[in-house]
């Protein structure tokens, strides 16, 4: 039986909060998802950390910007709901489309700037996707009518900064009240204590990232999976959820350790005794802890934007293998177990949901479908795939004269001798200048000069290989016509950064973290162990 707060989260109105976020994740605009994964995750963090008030204030200023910076016959809703997919560039274009803004609104290259009579305020385009998602959340959670009522003082004429702050405070109070009903207070969200306690008990000394290992994950799952559920409302029945929990904990601990190492203290907590955590600090910390997920998220966005760097299966392989450097190092076996037996368990659960009595013993005896070596092979194939995609991206970016081509060249050929492109040793340490991208501009000019002149050299050969790679790919975004489009080139630029990071992490995972493990032996041991546990969990009798 769960604790009161657990029941609250499980059965109560938190389902509505989940639904609010799910709706935002599924919202489409112009036939694509309106909000990126990153934006949705950011919004969820704001809510979970209860650090919504600063964003609500920005949102209210953006509402003012939308009213007085847009068309006279449109209201603020048009900016949020009729401007297409929520991307910084889209918002910039939306504001740039109008020429008859109120004089107090200045449309800058990175922000809109509002000159209130009492105090100015600026909202950046980069921030607008999140604010738009927040608007979506407010409309869903507290309702359009109360929201619009609260914003109405901003509509009758350019308000003062103070009026905007008042409206924001009012809205924040409504969000506070909503979350009071739908999200338990931070102190009561102690869902993780069981695993935390288990990990602490296993650690010889203080709990640290290094004290969590593959055995911690497996042992915890073996010991706890057959209970109803963890006291704190966390699903511990599936190996996958326990693995994910462990991965989170590794990252959290690593972050905390880094902070101590760098600053001698955690920039967290206003009251050490009571354990009060400042919402802003917590949210900032979470954003950093989740940073390693960004390259895959970026790749996902590129695919959504029409350049099919990965198909669904390839993306799944990357997602199961890559969890950030710290997790890859700490939990290599767990990653493969999650891939092989996590899938197997998910299949079992699905089969149970779909049909009535099943021959469980037979089903379990046939598991897993894959083994560790097969998965390793698939990951190695993904390295080849990533390299092909990097070559293709190089071709597109070099043709477009984009500096990222140089980065891809180095990533593809670490031995490539382009040392003369490096910074001029005579240049001062402080590259202060009135020219933007001082070093980059110089280096790039030298790189493209070399690329053109070096037909038979390393760079010339790379160009040829890249061209061939590009032409051999028949996927969306890889046609000759598409590579001429500026938006597609931009997507290849985004893909390049993500590809380099993903390639680097996957190579490290394969070569450093899982290379020395005897996977053949492990699959034998694990198969027996997991089958036994599945039998305990789902019954071994034929139905």
């Amino acid at each position: 039986m769960g604790s009161p707060e657990n029941r609250f989260l499980e059965e109560g109105k938190s389902a509505e909060l989940c639904a609010c976020l799910q709706i935002i994740q599924e919202t489409t605009a112009d036939d694509s998802l309106k909000y990126s994964d990153k934006t949705c995750r950011e919004l969820a963090r704001l809510i979970v950390c209860r650090n919504y008030a600063p964003a609500v204030l920005e949102l209210c200023h953006l509402v003012v910007g939308a009213i007085y910076g847009g068309s006279h016959d449109q209201r603020y809703e048009a900016l949020f709901f009729a401007s297409g997919p929520a991307r910084a560039g889209g918002f910039r274009a939306w504001f740039a489309a109008f020429t008859d803004q109120h004089k107090a609104i200045d449309i800058g290259r990175q922000e809109i700037f509002i000159s209130y009579a009492d105090k100015p305020f600026a909202v950046t385009y980069g921030r607008m996707p999140l604010l738009s998602a927040l608007m979506e959340f407010l409309m869903t959670a507290i309702g359009y009518a109360p929201l619009d009522e609260t914003l109405s003082p901003l509509l009758g004429g350019l308000p003062s900064h103070k009026q905007v702050s008042d409206a924001a405070n009012d809205l924040s109070r409504q969000v506070y009240s909503y979350l009071g009903e739908h999200l338990p207070p931070v102190q009561e969200q102690r869902k993780s204590q069981s695993f935390l306690q288990f990990a602490s008990d296993r650690a010889a000394a203080e709990l640290a990232a290094a004290t969590i290992n593959d055995d911690t994950v497996l042992d915890y799952w073996m010991a706890h999976a057959d209970g109803d559920s963890d006291d704190r409302g966390v699903d511990v029945k599936t190996y996958r959820s326990v693995f994910r929990m462990a991965a989170h904990l590794v990252r959290v601990l690593r972050y905390a350790e880094d902070q101590y190492r760098m600053n001698g203290a955690l920039p967290i907590g206003t009251d050490f005794e009571s354990g009060e955590i400042d919402p802003g600090d917590l949210e900032t910390a979470l954003a950093e802890i989740e940073l390693p997920d960004q390259p895959l998220s970026a790749l996902h966005n590129v695919v959504s934007a029409g350049v099919k760097i990965t198909n669904k299966r390839e993306m799944e392989r990357l997602q199961e293998a890559l969890h950030g450097e710290d997790v890859g190092r700490a939990l290599p076996k767990s990653i493969l177990r999650n891939a092989v037996f996590g899938d197997a368990q998910a299949g079992l659960v699905q089969a149970l949901r779909r049909a009535g009595p099943l021959p469980m013993a037979q089903l379990i005896a046939a598991l897993p479908d894959d083994d560790y070596q097969t998965r390793r092979k698939q990951y190695s194939q993904m390295i080849d795939h990533l390299q092909q995609m990097m070559l293709a991206s190089f071709h597109v970016l070099a043709r477009a004269g984009k500096p990222l081509a140089a980065s891809l060249a180095i990533a593809l050929h670490p031995d490539l001798d382009i040392s003369d492109l490096a910074q001029d040793p005579n240049e001062p340490d402080w590259g202060d200048s009135n020219v933007v991208s001082f070093h980059a501009e110089n280096a790039m000019a030298r790189f493209f000069e070399r690329l053109e002149a070096d037909d038979n050299g390393e760079l010339g050969k790379l160009s040829g290989t890249a061209r061939t790679a590009f032409k051999s790919i028949s996927r969306q975004g890889f046609s000759q016509a598409e590579m001429e489009r500026a938006d597609i080139v931009e997507q290849f630029g985004k893909a390049a950064i993500a590809l380099i990071a993903v390639h680097k992490e996957l190579s490290r995972f394969l070569n450093n973290h899982i290379a020395s493990i005897d996977w053949d032996q492990l699959i034998t041991v694990d198969t027996t162990l997991f089958r036994s546990q599945f039998t305990t969990l789902y019954g071994g009798q034929n139905g």
């Binding site: 639904a19 209201r75 949020f80 409309m139 009518a145 204590q193 955690l266 354990g275």
Partner: protein, 179 residues
């Protein structure tokens, strides 16, 4: 001092760990059966005549009072013309509804008494061509119709009298919005 630092780290670890797990749970939720609708879709339904609403939105607009209230307010804010309830007539059908700059007239069809012509004229803004019409009933439900292109500033509909749209338009208690 070291003890205090340890406590802080412990608190932080617990809070961050909890927050990550809660974030996961929130992100993995489901929108099914909650009666909530996407604001973006609701807005599109209110302003974009060509928008094809999802069954979920239509269901919520028919059954969920908060969604109905939100939608009504959205219409109030985004529609170009609002024709309020008609002052109570003694009896019989109403012949027209009007507001400043806009009129909706009703004429029975001589060819078929079971049909009625609805003529919409907006002279308040000659550049404005209504594209969609909403009829909001007192029970909160809304009927929507995509309008044909105006002919010389007027839009004409031919409706079955017994259709929900005709009944709604002829009902003095409904309110009409044109966008």
């Amino acid at each position: 001092m070291a003890e205090q630092a340890g406590t802080t780290k412990q608190h932080f670890t617990q809070a961050a760990f909890d927050a990550l797990l809660t974030t996961d749970r929130l992100m993995a939720g489901t929108a099914a059966d909650t009666g909530l609708v996407s604001p973006t879709e609701m807005y599109a339904y209110a302003v974009d005549a060509s928008h094809q609403p999802s069954p979920g939105l239509l269901d919520a607009l028919n059954t969920q009072a908060p969604v109905q209230a939100s939608f009504r307010r959205l219409l109030n804010n985004t529609a170009r013309y609002h024709l309020p309830q008609v002052a109570a007539a003694s009896s019989g059908d109403i012949e027209q509804r009007e507001s400043e700059g806009c009129k909706i007239a009703f004429r029975p069809s001589r060819a078929n008494a079971a049909q009625i012509y609805v003529i919409i004229e907006c002279i308040g803004d000659t550049s404005f061509n209504p594209a969609v019409l909403f009829v909001c009933a007192v029970d909160g439900t809304t009927n929507r119709m995509e309008l044909p292109v105006a002919q010389n500033g007027r839009i004409q509909l031919l409706l079955e009298r017994e259709s929900d749209m005709a009944k709604g338009l002829l009902d003095i208690k409904t309110e009409v919005y044109l966008k």
